[in-house]
Assembly symmetry: C2
Homo-oligomer: 623 residues x 2
């Protein structure tokens, strides 16, 4: 059993696939995971913006949450229509491409890629935020812990995770139950327990250092919008449901949006009631607001740790969903030739290895650059997610407009409302968060757009050029002119020479002479061992050319010689035969063959057509 | 002008070399730089060990310095003899190889490599220690500064630094003058100014936390021995001197050892007198002892900054000397085939590029691992330097013993004394500093010894096998069997096929079928475009073989097919013709050709002899 098999599992054949169908009950955890997990960072992201307002900020918090929940409602109505219109799955890429054309589809795909990428980084960072809330001693190791979780997810996904509903059901239900119970107890104690009195008091509310302003409130709204991320997942998942698919999917979306809305409103009431404010994740003693809330309402008993464990697991799982979706979008792009075809190929475990590795590297980079701090990643995340929402809903508006008629008026209105409010929210996010990271998305997205279009143009050009094979030409052709770069006349060179004889009558060995090199001896060896036997056998005599290289360059003189030969023989192929030592052990290769690979690249780039490169290996016998 | 020319300068021809001769006046700065710079870290390294003894430690300091100066005197006497015996340069490698054989030479070379390597790391770290003493705000950036200096030195050396005496003269003289003036003023103020009274008082001497013990004193001696590093440089530099070479070289050595001894004794008196103790380089507010001393004696005026600048420059220059010596030792090793021959080749600027890059990477690694803290690097440095001293002096003892006679008795005695005291010092260093880093050298040196011998054995074996060319065999041979792995029948594959026809009558195209691949269409294309024209022209028909790959592997089925073909045709060469897209732009290559290079490696490793790999490029036309 090889090391890769132990880590990655045995290879799976292409036929080993299975599938199962979702009900509302399993659909909520499987497709709602991502949206529900957003409770773990969205409200906190809004609260942290309000922090400089001190106690005044807490008073504004409910109004901001209400604005967010209203936006959530418009998204719910809007995506219901998408589900109905796209029973085979209405991801942003498909909807945008269908209705707005290939370019819009590409924008949607880029928005999705950024969304999924940030979802991994934010999910892991927020999950570790929960862990360091529960175990403060781990706080200095935030980044290390983030990267460990990322590495674990990467390996699991390279092994291939069965997206079984069952695996998600228990933790998501535990999470919903824990948050639900906490909110319920919190409300009961606040209303019937003689007013809210925290069992474990949260840290004191800092003094206000800033006045409330429209800017701060918009900024808090922008951050808080990340609480809605993931809500679109169900629109893409209709085909996974049991019949009646659309009906079940719509119900599931309703349940998810409902739970999320209730959670947000619960937090909007309880945080001010119990005096809970956000804390700086970079400072020692950091507590996420969910950690503070659970501790304030129920104390730091067993329930506290169970609740925080469920929050951690759900946040980590929500990162996991990106590992399923990111490679799928890459695959769609690769199938449309916007990405190298490797992204459309499944690896040894039937997963899209390239997409998983790309996602892992990029999100690892994000975590390192932003130090594993959730708050720093939020602006980028919000831009990516809302861009995807926007493209998808505009696509739906066009969809209904094209369809026309009275029957679609309500659907059209829902999607138009969704698109319009999303556009407003996105404008707020980009404006309010531009300096805090949104600018990165504003630069990266167009750059990616350009890159993907360039890749597509390149593949298109190649296809035009190389497809439509011509009939095979069987007429005889002239043999190539052979050039053999040699270091000296040894058995490695001899083997190359012997192969060259099979190929041509015109053979030239080229030796590049650097510094104090015994040219005379090489000439004598050549005369003795090559020229004389060839004359004796009456076959064409291979020539030896020695070129001095005063600047100690090796490639250039060879390439120049090949170029000159090409010009002298305008109608012939030039075969460059490179003698190589082939070593049975890979590390011994480090001691030789340093020139071979580079020479081929240079010949390709500098000499152009009519050059063929041949490697003739000479094998060392075992010692 | 290309980017590499701007950074590295124009290429130099092999003939563009010049030379100049040294006098005692220029010899002291050029060859003594390294030894004199050791004042910048040696005494401090001893003092830091005495720190836990508090004020008691300072009282022991002069005795430790006296022991070090005595050891320095024996080294001076010993190396005088080496200079006389090796007027053409008596580096440790040459002396050990001459007198003790190749194995001892190899040990000497390894000790030298480690010595030079650590000299770079310690020189830079101590230099930056001086910078952060003068500008405390830079202290958190110690490692970054160290790496910046290292990068600068690397680029300068890749450009090629003329080792002109003149470049070294001014800074070394400035350094000697500054330290000399400081010591003189310090003594005058202590003796005639009514007792030592620091102008800028050094930090208070910490309370003793430990009792004086033989162990602590030996440990301080071991650390302090680094003050002698670099003293051997003159023994290697005799041929650089003006006639009478030996005489001039010996005088230079005397002057260098004399200045160094006086400096050490001066510090031994002044540090206790002014109450100067070492400080922890990791703590904020760190001051090197030279910085404390200059400030205590002259205040923090212009002289302070001039003096510290000269110390910084000399320490950095001392790292620079390793950049000249390390590649030279690598070259000697490469010429004896203990290292790949690339280390013996001069790059575009007539410098040994590979040696410089290796030194830079390894010392960068050391700086990163030890955080740019001088104190942590000292134990490794002491072991490397004293090992080189020991091998060289033992070699000299054998040299005189072989020569025999009365005339050499004094020389023999000097070298024997040097060798014996060095052996004692080395034993103290390894014992006292084993846990603090000496163990690294104790592990690395034998590992390197083994590695270099393995490399030599490998090259020897290859030479035995490949040299002595056989006479060229002109008898006709059978053409190879050709196998062409193809992705489909497109123009790229066609070009490969056309080349294959030149080579052989037995041609098989192999297509690896993965997942939903249109095999039927490929077969039809083949029949239409290849088989029919070939039959019509009455030439042998190339075959098409399609192999299913259920595990989506690409390499393995091709390699297996080549292996089977080899077994079926035991007396034939197998030519694998790989069709490639050759792109005019390098970055476009990232979108193709991902399989070609790996396939060749795998064919070499897994199919063994009789396999030749041919790349036939197909060029994209410009858009």
């Amino acid at each position: 059993m090889s090391l890769s098999e132990i880590i990655l599992g045995r290879p799976l054949a292409s036929t080993e696939e299975s599938k199962e169908e979702l009900t509302v009950l399993t659909g909520v955890p499987v497709l709602g995971l991502d949206a529900l997990a957003s409770t773990g960072y969205g409200p906190e992201a809004a609260l942290i913006v309000l922090l400089p307002l001190g106690v005044v900020g807490l008073r504004y918090f409910p109004f901001i949450v209400i604005a967010i929940v209203v936006k959530l409602a418009t998204l719910y109505l809007s995506y219901r229509q998408t589900q109905a219109a796209y029973p085979n799955g209405g991801g942003a890429y498909v909807v945008a491409k269908d209705n707005l054309g290939v370019r819009a589809g590409l924008w949607a795909a880029i928005a999705l890629l950024l969304d999924y990428l940030l979802n991994v980084a934010v999910g892991i960072a927020a999950g570790i935020g929960v862990v360091v809330s529960a175990i403060p001693a781990l706080q200095p190791h935030t980044l290390t812990l983030c990267l460990t979780v990322l590495a674990t997810l990467t390996i699991l996904n390279l092994r291939g995770v069965r997206e079984s509903g069952l695996a998600f059901v228990a933790p998501v239900f535990a999470f919903v139950a824990c948050i639900g119970i906490t909110i319920a107890i919190g409300l009961i104690r606040a209303w019937f327990g003689g007013g809210p009195a925290p069992i474990v008091p949260p840290p004191p509310i800092p003094m206000a250092t800033q006045e409330a302003s429209a800017w701060v409130l918009l900024s808090a709204f922008a951050n808080g919008c990340t609480a809605m991320t993931g809500i679109e997942a169900v629109s893409n998942g209709v085909p996974l449901f049991r019949e009646p698919k659309v009906r079940n999917a719509q119900r599931t979306l309703g349940v998810i949006a409902g739970i999320l809305g209730l959670f947000l409103l619960g937090l909007a009431y309880l945080c001010p009631a119990y005096g809970i404010v956000a804390m700086d994740e970079r400072q020692p003693g950091y507590q996420s607001i969910l950690s503070q809330l659970v501790a304030a309402v129920t104390g730091r008993g067993a329930f506290y740790y169970v609740a925080l464990a469920s929050i951690f697991v759900v946040l980590t799982y929500s990162a996991q969903t990106s590992f399923a979706d990111f490679p799928r979008v890459c695959r769609l792009l690769a199938e449309d030739r916007f990405l190298p075809s490797a992204f459309a190929k499944r690896g040894r475990r039937l997963v899209f290895t390239h997409g998983i590795v790309a996602l892992s590297l990029l999100s690892g980079l994000l975590l390192v650059v932003f130090g594993g701090i959730t708050d720093s990643l939020i602006p980028l995340f919000a831009v990516g997610a809302f861009s995807a929402f926007l493209v998808s809903q505009v696509g739906m508006v066009v969809h209904w407009l094209r369809q026309g008629g009275r029957a679609v008026r309500i659907s059209l209105a829902c999607n138009a409302l969704g698109a319009a409010t999303t556009a407003v929210a996105l404008a707020i996010i980009v404006t309010a968060k531009f300096l805090e990271g949104a600018w990165i998305t504003v630069i990266v997205a167009p750059a990616l757009f350009h890159l993907l279009r360039r890749i597509r143009a390149h593949y298109d050009r190649i296809e035009r050029e190389i497809e439509q094979p011509l009939p095979f030409e069987a007429r005889p052709r002239q043999p190539p002119v052979v050039i053999i770069p040699i270091e000296g006349l040894n058995r490695v060179a001899e083997k190359a020479l012997e192969f060259a004889v099979l190929l041509s009558n015109e053979i030239t060995a080229v030796h590049i002479s650097i510094e104090n090199d015994d040219k005379q001896r090489l000439r004598e060896l050549w005369t003795e061992n090559v020229e004389k036997p060839a004359r004796a056998a009456n076959v064409p005599v291979p020539r030896l050319v020695i070129i001095d290289s005063p600047y100690r360059r090796v490639y250039e003189p060879i390439v120049d010689y090949v170029k000159r030969t090409k010009e002298e023989k305008p109608d012939r192929l030039i075969a460059v035969v490179i003698p190589e030592l082939a070593n049975p052990r890979w590390y011994e290769a480090l001691l030789h063959n340093v020139y071979g690979a580079g020479l081929k690249t240079m010949l390709y780039v500098r000499t152009g057509e009519r050059t063929v490169v041949i490697y003739v290996p000479w094998y060392l016998r075992e010692p």
